[in-house]
């Protein structure tokens, strides 16, 4: 029952809240209530169920990594729901927002608890397409552009991942997701199928080079939606990877190296590119890409063999949990500085600071612990160049700190209101603090096996208070902060852009668009369709539209159709079909 409630309640909430008249309150609590079954499932272990009447017989169950992520997701949706109620109090389209919000929520929960391919894909698609409504919510030109690109990328991603899932089902001979990794490990085509999945889910994860929609779409949505997009939904792609990856069963060295190097490229590159941005939300989006890079690295190690899935996957989930709560904290935090005044600001800054520390893996935070997990596994893997990777990981802590202190600086520059006020959504936000990354160390989430493996009987608290680990976590952050402080204080070094981003957000996209438009131009020249020319660089689908909207194209296809509509040609078609089939049948 609770499994169905997990999905049905958000859908109900979507419909109910869409009809709450403007000015009335309560949508927040409805959403919070709708997420309760998910929280319950995240905390308690409930045995799975089978629903024969849904799709092609659906199964719902959870394993440890997905349970962790479900808990994270549940928490984020509760908080975002509460936050959204007061954040969007005066928004004209709040009903619509609520509808998409609830639908996305149902999809997000559903895909996490699905144990077989059909319902997983169904809910994945529901989440993907419902969140289109969240991205386009503000209807500003930039939101529209972001939404369009989001949609195009989502469809491309869906195509890849349905193919991957499809082939995986073929190879395993069962619809159950749990059977897939073992089957792929055996299958000679396994790496290829996994690569397809890597691309398909990579769109959602924001992996290099498929991430370019993300810095546009995440900031475009309203703050609570950005928080769930970046905190929870992005993890859905990760879950997809985890479903497909035969961790610990294979030694696919090239795929593993590919994932690790792409992960590092994301971890370092995105952080550095993010520094050039001036919008705090874009900053955070790049940080998300960078952090997802770290998770990509972890999963990549798993494909090299040696580390069993029961240790590695929970570790990835724990890392995701820490990042998700902290990132949601920061995203929602972007709404705060302009509305929080007086002494409330101390609380706000404390929260933001804590979030930044947690992501950078600062001392005495949950981030420290999860980063330690990464380090441990990276050190233990037999991957060539392991030591270099460890060094790079430390370096990424520096760049992350740089990026996030830049974020804090940008936030600092937002003008505070004069009077001493605190908006209603400060409180749900504070609630998120309670759900912070420390939970990753609590026995409720941390599997005993993993804890024993890492801490070697010393216990988690001994680790937590260990001076050495705390120190080694502190210095990269200090370096980062000092670097940022120096560049800000010393005028000659202060080259930070203030008005416009140094480089456009969605970097890679512009290269694609450029290449695409060049290609389109060539195509047009080639078939002498150069008539309208490329008017604008609005989106990849424009290339298609520019061909289809061309007068010549429409003339040609219309006249072709009108030829097919003439009786003489229908007759010729009749005889061609007749004679061909006669030959085939004789």
């Amino acid at each position: 029952m609770i499994w169905f409630l997990t999905i049905v309640l958000p859908l109900l909430a979507a419909i109910i809240t869409a009809y709450i008249p403007a000015g009335r309150r309560g949508s927040g609590f409805i959403f919070a209530g709708a997420a309760l079954p998910a929280l319950w499932l995240g905390l308690m272990e409930v045995s799975g169920v089978t629903a024969q009447w849904f799709l092609l017989e659906s199964h719902f169950s959870l394993d440890t990594p997905r349970r962790i992520i479900l808990l994270l997701t549940g928490i984020l949706w509760v908080v975002a729901g509460l936050f959204a109620e007061s954040y969007l109090k005066d928004d004209a389209r709040r009903g619509e927002f609520s509808f998409y919000f609830g639908a996305t929520m149902a999809g997000n929960f559903g895909l996490l608890i699905s144990a077989e391919v059909a319902s997983f894909y169904t809910f994945f698609a529901l989440m993907t397409f419902a969140s289109y409504g969240l991205v386009i919510h503000s209807r500003t030109p930039s939101a529209r552009q972001a939404a369009r690109i989001y949609l195009v990328m989502a469809i491309i991603g869906e195509l890849f991942l349905i193919t991957a899932l499809y082939l995986a089902v073929q190879s395993s001979g069962s619809m159950l997701l749990a059977d897939i990794p073992a089957a792929l490990a055996e299958d000679p085509n396994g790496p290829f199928v996994f690569l397809l999945g890597l691309i398909g889910f990579g769109v959602k994860v924001g992996a290099i080079p498929l991430y370019f929609w993300l810095p546009l779409a995440h900031p475009a949505a309203p703050a609570p939606a950005s928080a769930v997009l970046s905190g929870a939904m992005i993890k859905a792609g990760l879950v997809g990877w985890m479903h497909l990856a035969p961790v610990g069963l294979v030694e696919w060295s090239s795929l593993s190296l590919l994932m690790v190097s792409l992960g590092f490229a994301a971890a370092l590159g995105a952080a550095i590119y993010g520094l050039t941005q001036v919008d705090p939300k874009t900053n955070l989006a790049y940080s998300s890409i960078s952090q997802m890079g770290v998770m990509t690295i972890l999963l990549g190690i798993g494909l090299y063999g040696g580390i069993p899935a029961r240790l590695l996957l929970p570790a990835i989930a724990l890392y995701a949990f820490n990042h998700g709560t902290a990132k949601a904290l920061l995203f929602m935090g972007t709404a705060l500085p302009a509305r929080v005044g007086g002494s409330w600001r101390i609380l706000m800054w404390a929260g933001l600071g804590l979030g930044v520390l947690a992501i950078a893996g600062g001392p005495l935070t949950g981030g420290l612990w999860t980063k330690y997990l990464v380090k441990t596994f990276l050190g233990e893997s037999s991957l060539p160049g392991g030591q270099t990777f460890l060094l790079l990981l430390t370096l990424s802590a520096v760049t992350t700190t740089l990026l996030l202190s830049r974020f804090l600086h940008l936030m600092y520059k937002i003008k505070a209101p004069c009077e001493k006020v605190a908006p209603a959504f400060l409180f749900p936000w504070l609630l998120l603090l309670l759900a912070g990354g420390w939970w990753t160390m609590s026995p409720a989430l941390l599997p005993t096996e993993l804890m024993n493996y890492i801490t070697k009987e010393k216990g988690i608290m001994a680790f937590f208070w260990n001076m050495l680990t705390n120190w080694s976590a502190l210095w990269p952050i200090t370096v980062g902060v000092i670097l940022m402080a120096l560049t800000l204080k010393i005028a000659t070094l202060n080259r930070w852009p203030t008005k416009n981003p140094l480089l456009p957000a969605g970097d890679f996209l512009h290269i694609i668009l450029l290449a695409g438009s060049l290609l389109a131009k060539l195509l047009q020249n080639g078939i002498s369709l150069l008539d309208s020319g490329m008017k604008s660089l609005k989106g990849p689908e424009k290339i298609f539209y520019s061909i289809s909207d061309d007068k010549r194209t429409s003339q040609i296809s219309a006249s072709a159709e009108s030829i097919l509509r003439r009786w003489e040609f229908v007759g010729i078609g009749f005889f061609i079909v007749f004679l061909t089939m006669f030959l085939f049948l004789r």
């Binding site: 003489e568 040609f569 007759g571 010729i572 005889f575 061609i576 007749f578 004679l579 006669f582």
Partner: protein, 328 residues
């Protein structure tokens, strides 16, 4: 000797069919088509299918011929193809078009030729099937009629026949539908011509009796509901010509009753026996002959009414001003 007649008849049929499509004047086309229908009717007679011959002559050649002739008044009297050829000469643009059509037409003819060869082979090589003559012969005594074709039509395959009566009604509804949104209008009578009226009034009872005879004889020989229906329908059409629009005299409800009588009675009778535990259209053998005669009579009335109404509607299409064009 007799085979020569058949060959000549076959050649005549093919020639008339070709000519009616190739004729340059539309009126020629229609007349040749009329002749084709009669040639076909002769062919049926040669093949021993007298029922089919009567039906063909009455409906396909007769009724349809009248409809086509009536339509001729409507279309432009000028010669369509000829005129097109004329304009082709004058207009270089359309000459171009006809040139561009040459290749497709050649391809079409080639395709037709190959299709014909294969069709001939298929028909030539047809294996002996045996048909259902034997089965019909054994079951004929149970059917309640003596003529096998009537037995098949109204008993063995009564379902097809029932649907077919429905199709005639549908044909009328469809003709109504073409009239656009103004339906159920009263037809307008033709010009008054006293001489013609007299002639027609003279023929009316003759036709009626002949129809009734065909209906009754259908039990034991060629004839039956369709043939009788067409003859009675011919009365309505003739009266319409003679300025006596029966169709508009009849009140609306009666008109509809006549139109649907055959179909509905047929079905209700079937339902009645179905309620008694039989299958649809299953008659108790003892009453089968009588029931079939009643069904046939009502069906003939409905067919006659439908044909008259179809003709009346088509006939007055020309006269009616297309004033609903303005509403477009």
């Amino acid at each position: 000797m007799s085979i020569l007649i058949d060959i000549l008849l076959a050649i005549l049929g093919v020639y008339l069919a070709m000519q009616s499509l190739l004729a340059s004047r539309l009126s020629q086309s229609v007349f040749l088509f009329f002749a084709f229908g009669l040639a076909l009717a002769l062919a049926w007679v040669r093949l021993g299918a007298v029922d089919v011959a009567i039906t063909e002559a009455a409906i396909a050649a007769g009724f349809l011929g009248v409809l086509f002739l009536d339509a001729l008044r409507d279309f432009s009297p000028r010669d369509t193809e000829e005129q097109q050829n004329l304009t082709t000469v004058q207009n270089s643009l359309s000459r171009k078009e006809s040139k561009s059509l040459l290749l497709p037409r050649l391809a079409l003819v080639l395709g037709l030729g190959l299709f014909l060869l294969i069709a001939l082979e298929a028909v030539w090589k047809i294996p002996e099937g045996g048909g259902l003559t034997a089965a019909a012969e054994t079951l004929l005594p149970e059917s309640g009629v003596e003529h096998p074709v009537t037995a098949v039509l109204l008993n063995f395959r009564a379902y097809d026949t029932w649907l077919e009566i429905g199709v005639i009604l549908l044909g009328l509804l469809a003709v109504f539908a073409v009239g656009g949104i103004q339906i159920y209008r009263k037809p307008i009578a033709a010009a008054d011509d006293p001489l013609m009226r007299q002639v027609i009034l003279f023929f009316t009872p003759v036709l009626f009796l002949f129809g009734a005879f065909l209906l009754y004889i259908g039990k034991s020989g060629p004839g039956g509901a369709f043939q009788a229906g067409v003859l009675w329908g011919a009365i309505g059409i003739l009266l319409h010509f003679g300025g006596i629009p029966v169709y508009s005299w009849v009140p609306r409800w009666l008109g509809h009753l006549l139109l649907t009588l055959g179909l509905v009675f047929f079905l209700l009778l079937g339902f009645l026996f179905m309620a008694a535990g039989d299958n649809l259209f299953e008659y108790p053998p003892a009453y089968a002959g009588l029931l079939i005669l009643i069904v046939e009579t009502l069906a003939a009335i409905s067919i006659a009414a439908a044909l008259t109404a179809i003709f009346a509607n088509l006939n007055q299409m020309k006269k009616e001003q297309p004033n609903d064009t303005a509403q477009k």
